[in-house]
Amino acid sequence: MKLSAKQSTLLVLILIIALAPFFFPSAFYFRIGSVVFVNAVAVVGMVILTGYAGQISLGHAGFAGIGGYACALAPVYLGLHPALAALLGALISAVLAYLVGRPILRLKGYYLAVATLGFGILVSMVLSNETAITGGPDGIKVPDLGLRAWLVDRGLKISNSQFWYWFSGLALVIGAWLALNLHESATGRALRALHGSEIAARTVGVDVARAKLIAFVISAIYASVAGSLIALQNRMITPDIAGYMHSIEMVTMAVLGGAGSVLGAIFGATILTLLPQVLTVFQQYEQIMLGLVMMLVMIFMRDGLLPSLVARVRGRGE
């Protein structure tokens, strides 16, 4: 039986997640792996917004911040379980994305990038300055999700970093599955159509403003869930998560791997998460490196690393 593009993408992803631990030199790599997966969840959201619909957001870290801080604050102030707090964060992110996106996406052009830039900065300022509630720049503790303890109670011996590796991996597979479903559905075709030609999309009956808003809200939920996962896994969160650099990082990861493809975006997230771990020099000059990567990709590989490489290999094969 021939696999569809969706099935083969999911299969590759599941195999990578399942087999990678066999090559881990130390348990520390479970930790790195889970960070890669969480970043990839956010970047899959960017694929829907940027790769499918062709819209740019420079403030998606703001939604990650909301998702993250929801997990810290909702258990304390509302007595919610951390899992429900993450859901609440996703809901708040969706509503805010709707409220920010609705007026902006009626306009043509790059207003979304500018508006989201402002939104992201606003969220990170609130998180830094409302010290009484958020703990300010030093961050705040996040309660335990409790799922690992539950599993251990039932006899599953699993370390904390192993648990988060598999849990984030599962979240990524689900996120990728949803994005791939969308890609080949009527909604996904409408998004890709407006990316290709907005005027032609309108003439076939696509309500372009609504379609963009759908992509924006969905991608905000992805970022929010990623933020919640970071918070729950680190058991603490700082305003850096909502920072401008984090937003740029998300866009760069998506563009580097290939914003149009889910697997490419995951690839981009992997490279840019691993590089600072491997090259300490990258850590020091992260901002310069991100800028450089973005420029080089835009100049030499407009479709992103993975699609360009695939095209090159195929071109040679024929």
Partner: protein, 261 residues
């Protein structure tokens, strides 16, 4: 009853009257052509009727409803569909997917069911796919279905746009130079296709430079020059009209066949 009524339409770009006080009407199953030299305002008129530009004066009635200034997606819901002079293809999609977007209005459903690939969502996509294949066969592109649209020739893309526009099952179809860049055989195929579509009851508004085609298939011709209507009538009347001959065919040209503006 008229399907489309255009009344006193005018639009200015800066100080220039690109279209001035143009009016005509169209019934179901009729083929009406708009002709005129380059820069006469044909495409501008198309863009006004299809909601891309908002006119400064006049109004557009679709089945007696005033739809002046409606966004193209609302006009699509009311049964209007169009192609573009400068192709507007979804380059990154396959030929099949391009036509499937034409079924957007019939195919789209709740976003959540699309995200979760619920059976209802997959069924809608399957239906759109099989309907799209029928349309691709109709324009002779069935064998290119799985190819990237960007890999097609210009003439094939013209037919792809027609297939996508037909997917809306329109009451009114606007075709902006459908035969441009096509060879004689392709032009004749498009010619037959347009006549067939009109026979099924769709009203067709056509802009075309190929005068043979216009004269052969039009029920009615509207002639524009410098944004104004200078004549209208059946092909025989229009081709004899001295103003038309002067403005459009050139003073030396009785030979309408080679009258490229």
């Amino acid at each position: 009853m008229n399907l489309l009524t255009v009344e006193g339409i005018g639009i200015r770009f800066g100080g220039l009257h690109a279209v001035r006080d143009v009016g005509f009407s169209l019934k179901a199953g009729e083929i009406v052509s708009v002709i005129g030299p380059n820069g006469a305002g044909k495409t501008t008129l198309f863009n006004i009727i299809s909601g891309v530009y908002i006119p400064h004066s006049g109004r557009i009635l679709l089945e007696s409803d005033d739809v002046t200034g409606f966004d193209p997606y609302l006009l699509a819901r009311r049964g209007m569909s169009r192609t573009f002079q400068n192709l507007q293809i979804f380059q990154a999609m396959t030929v099949l997917e391009n036509v499937m977007t034409g079924f957007h209005l019939r195919e789209s459903g709740p976003v959540l069911s699309d995200l979760l690939a619920l059976p209802s969502s997959r069924r809608r996509s399957r239906e759109a796919e099989s309907d799209a294949r029928v349309l691709l066969a109709r324009v002779g592109l069935e064998r290119a279905a799985e190819r990237e649209a960007s890999a097609l020739s210009y003439g094939a893309l013209k037919r792809l746009e027609i297939a996508r526009a037909l997917a809306l099952n329109p009451k009114l179809l606007l075709l902006d130079e459908p035969a441009a860049g096509c060879n004689a055989v392709e032009t004749e195929e498009i010619d037959h296709l347009i006549v067939d579509v009109a026979k099924e009851g769709t009203a067709i508004l056509l802009v075309e430079h190929d005068m043979k085609m216009v004269m052969r298939i039009s029920n009615h011709i509207v002639v524009l020059d410098h944004g104004e209507k200078i004549a209208e009538g059946d092909p025989a009347t229009v081709s004899r009209d001295p103003r038309v001959i002067e403005a459009y065919l050139g003073t030396q040209g009785q030979d309408a066949n080679h009258a490229h503006g």
